[in-house]
Amino acid sequence: MLEIRNLRVKLAEEDKLILSGISLEVPKGQVHAIMGPNGSGKSTLAYVLAGREGYEVIGGEVLWNGEDLLAMEPDERAAKGVFLAFQYPMEIPGVATMTFLRTALNAVRRSRGQAELTTPQFMKHVREEALGLAIADEILKRPLNVGFSGGEKKRMEILQMAVLAPTLCVLDETDSGLDIDAVRIVSAGVNKLRSQDRAMLVITHYQRLLNYIVPDKVHVMADGKIRKTGGKELALELEKSGYAEFKSKALESA
């Protein structure tokens, strides 16, 4: 279970408050969506969960399976099952995708007390997952994300997620920039991972993705706060009315 309690976050270098008291609970086995206008703080929340530097937590707490997530280093969090699919995946020149996946998987398995996979086991595992995501073998040999299209990068994030088998999946705008076929492929990949031992937080600007990854709950975020929570039908409402209702406050306060 992910428990976020009154989380307040500012930029480390500036006096700018970005998250002004987020509270949220995602039990295992559930998928929650966070929707909201650009600049509302969705990525910041995702980054803070993953442990990125540059943000300062000035209040509240985040518990993952009862443990204080915020006290852990990013790689410790990954070892505890946290995974962030980045809105803007990084390019890593000179590190072949396969090498990267293997290094990450071995690191995570070691930290979870599991044996490393043999090379054939590993290759088989990755190839199977890649096939489902329509990722060509040739891409796995290229340096990670270097020269990949936007869609390829997003599919690669999901491949990493499938390979690392995390238990808390945070997906930050995995659908942005994808055409409808790619949204289907990515969603199928995500849905395959839905299970009783996994909690998922799906961040998206558009309702479209939620037709494919049907959430248990939808939270609307604006100005660094959860402004409304509802069932999956809330996403459809937003699709009609837009974020105007929430944006107006942002404009007033600006």
Binding site: G51, P74, D75, I92, T103, L164
Partner: protein, 446 residues
């Protein structure tokens, strides 16, 4: 004011050393004369210093506090296993070997290459009055009056003279090992020459290593490379000279028509290194690719200075140097590409990049283009950057511990240069050797 009074202690000591050992240095009368002239040239020039443009970041006059006595006839007791251990991964490469210890050929470790069309002669032998050495050994046409080259001519004791006949393809790499073993600091001076006749092909590896227990010494090494028309040479230099050791190296390469010269230099674990490379295109349509990786830590100083001279039309030159600098290490890259007035269709690209692991490390670079022709494609660049924190975070978010993430990023940075080595076994060996040293660099970081 006399010249001598303005000379540093080391400069004076070098001149005195020469007087002391001249009689023991190999060579007949003509060579002795050439040596004498060279030490005269050195006496007039002195050690290069920062007021000379090409030496502004590597001031030998202040860096070389003392001149060590020249190694002339050092005794050493070595075993093949000590040598293999020092060669690390290079030991496993199937190669013809020629071994020099403290500036002297060690025939017991040399494997005789029995191949028609290949001549390999130790310099000391060739310099004997009845030997085969020609005045080519003292030819300074490329560098003009270079003090370091003059010192090399004055003091050279041994080295490898390699000649490959027309059309001969060397069956496996030739590994030249220059090991230091002396327990007392010595000046070792080496001179090599690699001549490939028309269409000949070879891979030559120079490994400059310190054996366990060797004192920090000084090395002056020069390799003269001459490629005939259509010849192909892969030339690798691996410099692991040892802490506090100084290593001055000069490569002089002339490229004949349509010849291909692929060179790579790995430099690490060495106190002070200057790798000077002068490459001259003599025939049209030739290609040159020089790359290198250098790893510096503590107060190590690694300088790569190269001049590529497009003297004839239609040649291509590529240089890629990558360095990783930790602690207070100092890296220098100076690359000058000259395109002569008639050298149309010249194509030159140069890049030097350093990864700075510490705020106290320093990287100075000066890529330079001197273009006198109009129909050319030339480019250059140099960067110094720290490890990208965003990349580091991305990798950590995937569960990779920070030290490992750093190491992987550094390795891939260096890897781009090592990837230029075409021979796979050699490339893997060099990557492993570099990686071993990277672990040392990253472990030292916070």
């Amino acid at each position: 004011m006399t010249l001598a009074s303005t000379r540093t202690k080391a400069e004076q000591a070098l001149s005195r050393s020469f007087e002391a050992v001249a009689a023991e240095l190999p060579g007949g009368r003509a060579i002795a004369e050439a040596r004498k002239a060279a030490i005269g040239t050195f006496a007039a020039l002195g050690l290069p210093h920062r007021r000379l443009e090409q030496w502004k970041w590597t001031d030998l006059r202040s860096a070389l506090k003392e001149a060590l006595p020249p190694a002339v006839n050092e005794r050493h007791e070595l075993s093949a296993s000590i040598i293999d251990a020092a060669l690390e991964e290079l030991a496993a490469i199937d190669a013809h070997r020629m071994v020099f210890v403290d500036g002297r050929h060690a025939p017991q470790f040399t494997t005789q290459a029995d191949l028609g069309g290949l001549e390999v002669t130790p310099l000391a032998e060739a310099l004997r009055p009845d030997g085969s050495a020609s005045d080519a050994l003292t030819d300074q046409s490329i560098t003009g009056n270079e003090a370091v080259v003059a010192l090399n001519t004055a003091f050279m004791t041994d080295g490898a003279l390699i000649r490959l006949a027309k059309g001969v393809r060397l069956d496996k790499p030739l590994l030249l090992l220059f090991a230091r073993s002396a327990r007392e600091g010595r000046l070792v001076t080496l001179r090599n020459r690699i001549v490939l006749a028309e269409g000949a092909e070879a891979t030559v590896i120079e490994a400059h290593l310190a054996l366990p227990g060797a004192a920090a010494g000084q090395t002056n090494t020069l390799t003269d490379v001459r490629l005939g028309p259509g010849a192909r040479l892969a030339h690798v230099k691996c410099t692991l000279a040892g802490e506090r050791a100084s290593h001055l190296a000069t490569w002089l390469a002339t490229l004949g028509q349509t010849s291909v010269y692929r060179a790579f230099q790995l430099t690490a674990g060495s106190g002070l290194v200057r790798n000077n490379i002068f490459a001259l295109f003599k025939g049209e349509g030739a290609k040159l690719d020089i790359s290198g990786a250098f790893l510096g830590r503590e107060v190590e100083h690694i300088d790569t200075t190269l001049v590529v001279d497009h003297a004839v039309p239609g040649c291509e030159s590529r240089e890629l140097f990558k360095g990783v600098l930790a602690d207070r290490a100092h890296g220098v890259f100076q690359g000058k590409v000259i395109v002569r007035p008639n050298a149309q269709k010249s194509d030159g690209k140069q890049m030097a990049q350093a990864l700075m692991l510490s705020p106290d490390a320093e990287f100075d670079s000066k890529p330079e283009l001197e273009i006198h022709a109009d129909d050319v494609v030339c480019g250059h660049g140099a960067t110094a950057a720290e490890i990208d924190e965003d990349l580091l975070f991305y990798m950590r978010a995937r569960g990779i511990p920070v030290a490992q993430a750093r190491a992987l990023l550094i390795e891939s940075f260096i890897g781009e240069a090592i990837d230029k080595v075409e021979d796979e076994r050699l490339r893997v060996a060099l990557a492993q050797m570099a990686k071993r040293r990277l672990t040392g660099l990253t472990a030292a970081q916070p």
